[in-house]
Symmetry: C2
Subunit: 497 residues, 2 copies
């Protein structure tokens, strides 16, 4: 794609300048429509050093109202960033609905320059490419417009520009030995770029390769693309919002072979109990063992994610507390998930979870999770049918990405029956220090037990994978449930560590 | 304070255990009151390695509902953190109103262990101590309860504990060579701790020194302090909210000698214009010069903060754009300040600004600023009279801290008269592509011109300092205003760089 590009293209200034003025006025007006229609826009720039990314970004952002965009320079990950999944820092920089994120370099670094310099295996490059492809598809499905520009210049042009920068006292510092090295090995990078462009041009996020020898020409091509892409994205968005999905059609996953067979809730007997006389000793033993494993996990830098879901009053809080009691507070965090706030609602539903991942060697205990999408959001109509139906696949992909990074993931559904819930609700209402735990909403949710049961069954069938299995924890007897959970965690960690 | 502490204190387990149980139940219930009354609580732990900070924090957080607290382990700042003011990372970790931040080590590292190891000058330690004192006072004034625990053990006890940790295969890795070194030079650290405790025990944030040889005793003393402090803070908060301040009483600043004399708005003639034929050339020259200075600033790692305030329609946007056009987009950010969102309203008003500071070598252009506190918040009653009156001092302190860090700060008030504003409002209303810029709120604000003028005058008198001066920019002629602003920035940077 690059080697066949005509780099001598040049649009004469006399025609380019007035067209640019018109496009800038158009873009400035379009920004208000983008905001109104809540369209998120990513504009990312890749390309050679000294190809002019900075000045292209500058001309774009000078056209935009600062209240509606953010710019980011993406450097190679620093030590702190390396302790998280590669994609985390990109998810964090996604635009809110109705605004722009403009990126100077991007996730494509990880499969181009960094791949060349860190001498990544072909397999690792493919893996990262796949992760990127999935991320972009998820964002596009969420309505994000993704504009990818590659600024191309020849080896000689790059060398000339570096020479010119170096010749002036003021700009000499901008030319690093790395730039020189990359220019010298231009062809190696060219190969990496070619492969990247080939493998990541998809209809919902195509690459726009810009011949960047002539600045005005490049600028004009970029503005034309930005304006026309936004216009068509806005039109498409309006169409898409009219689509209706059938809630009962079968859901097809792309990797059904990764699923584990799961029982339905009605098949769970709920008769397990634990002799109270055994509890104290087994709790103590399990906590001691878990504490040792936490040490080991920390040293081996394995991240652990514990995801808790379950009926209201099933005992999540008490269960989590027994796990947490075994852990060093410097190495774990309990992350309570409530309804999303305004900023969170203005992003992809997975955005807030990407931001809260544990670093390597740490433990994140989620008290409720991303599965809200296929339970409360589904049942209360907080998302469309199309959205919750797509979520099973998206969540599997999300967890797969975490597993590939090295995370150990366990998911618990704390299960009780309706009578037991009623008993606990009444107990909460009658005990002054527990009253804050019970709200009107809990009673309302209870009335929707059958809908929830259906949603939970479907969730268990479609999202229990070998890399992130669900465990239904019988919780009629809280003590039994605590020991069972602790022992499952211990067993998994013993297998892994 | 440390050397005279009786480390042999021990409360017998038989009486300690039941009291602890009561205190835990009490704390758990109090957390709901803390939330209801929106009390922010900081609990920080300092002390020797192996003194038991981890297990104290663990027992505290196991008592609390995870929805109401966050824990933080404070390590020495990494490379990325070192590019910001020392206090930034602490401000970011402040609790929201009604919740707890629990810190394992804190800002006191910077004047104790790090001071010993980085061999800081006495002067630098004093400077940092003063910064901390100011931060704590500002937080306390905002109603934050600050609980500071120092866990004390003897040199011998510490050595025994390190030996014990090292003796077991599972915990050996926890003992670092740094721990050994610190134990060896125990007395040096003791001196640093003593000085720190002496200098930072204040009535609104006293140190609680805990003899930590006996775990149960330490735990009990901590829980007693936490419970009683929260109870009295809640009582005090209720009292404080009843206080009424006199809006017209004179405002006394602690460092009036730092103020620069300023004119009142009515003394500004507003007759400055620029010959349009000169504008293009002077703009070009100024932007070229600023571009070079941006280069220099970046290399010398000087942070620059440009704060824009002014009447609605005074031309802030266009002015900022002319400055931004000269800058490399990788080195600056325009930060538009709107009304605070829910999360921001749940924190100290300066919190959101601390989070948006530029790193060294970068430029932050604030389109509206922290001065909202003494303008719109004052006039619309979004804060109490006591609060906006305190803000002049707080803002001066905030800017002083940034200046001490090395930031260059310029503040612009873009000034026009009422007739000119009316003309521009009408123009906006009559021009389709400008209509989004004019809202009902602009008209409402316009009616309050006299109140704003009074507030602006007071702001200029009380917050123009030699380290962060205000410039009133005559903006009847936008072109004049742009050149004037650019030239002020250039002149300041030329003096500094």
């Amino acid at each position: 794609m690059l080697s066949t590009l005509d780099l001598t293209q040049r649009i004469p200034k006399e025609t380019a300048k007035p067209e640019l003025r018109t496009l800038k006025a158009r873009l400035s007006a379009l920004q208000q429509t983008v905001k109104e229609h809540k369209l998120p826009v990513i504009i990312l720039f890749e390309g050679w050093s000294a190809a002019g990314k900075g000045s292209m970004i500058s001309s774009l952002i000078l056209t935009l109202d600062p209240r509606g965009f953010k710019t980011y320079s993406i450097l190679p990950p620093d030590e702190a960033e390396r302790r998280y999944p590669l994609l985390k820092r990109y998810w964090e920089k996604l635009p809110a609905y109705g605004s722009f994120s403009i990126l100077d370099r991007s996730w494509y670094q990880d499969i181009t320059t960094l791949a060349v310099e860190d001498k990544l295996s072909r397999q690792e490059v493919l893996r990262r490419t796949e992760s990127i492809r999935i991320m972009e598809r998820q964002l596009a499905d969420d309505g994000t417009l993704i504009l990818k520009f590659f600024l191309h210049i020849s080896k000689k042009e790059q060398k000339d520009r570096l020479d010119k920068l170096e010749a002036s006292k003021n700009t000499r510092w901008r030319v690093t030995s790395q730039d020189r090295r990359r220019n010298k090995h231009y062809d190696d990078y060219l190969d990496a770029y070619e492969a990247m462009l080939q493998n990541t041009t998809v209809s919902h996020a195509p690459w726009h390769i810009i011949p960047a020898h002539d600045k005005t020409t490049a600028q004009l091509m970029i503005f034309r693309t930005v304006v026309s892409s936004i216009e068509s994205a806005l039109a498409q968005k309006a169409d898409q919002e009219k689509l209706v999905a059938d809630p009962s059609a079968p859901i097809n996953l792309s990797n059904p072979e990764r699923l584990l067979p799961m029982p339905t809730l009605s098949q769970i007997s709920l008769d397990k109990t634990l002799d109270p006389s055994e509890y104290d000793q087994r709790l103590k033993d399990a906590q001691q063992r878990l504490s040792q494993l936490h040490n080991k996990l920390y040293r081996q830098k394995v991240p652990l994610i514990l995801a808790y879901e379950g009926w209201d009053a099933a005992g999540k809080g008490g269960n989590i507390k027994r796990v947490a009691a075994a852990l060093d507070p410097r190495g774990y965090e309990v992350i309570p998930i409530a309804a999303p706030d305004k900023t969170e609602l203005n992003h992809h539903y997975l955005w807030r979870f990407w931001r809260q991942l544990p670093k390597t060697g740490h433990i994140a205990i989620f008290d409720r999770t991303w599965y809200g999408r296929v339970m409360v959001e589904r049942i209360e109509g907080f998302c469309t049918t199309r959205q919750w139906r797509a979520a099973y696949q998206e969540i599997n992909e999300f967890e797969y990405e975490l597993a590939q990074w090295g995370a150990v993931i366990l998911k618990f559904w704390l299960h009780i029956d309706q009578n037991e819930q009623l008993r606990r609700f009444i107990d909460r209402q009658n005990t002054p220090e527990k009253q804050w735990k019970i709200t009107e909403e809990d009673w309302r949710n209870r009335e929707k037990w059958p809908q929830y049961q259906e949603a939970v069954d479907q969730m268990l069938q479609l999202t229990s994978t070998r890399y992130a299995p669900w465990y239904v924890i019988e919780s009629q007897d809280k003590k039994y449930a605590r020991i069972r959970t602790l022992e499952l965690i211990i067993q998994t960690l013993e297998d892994v560590l």
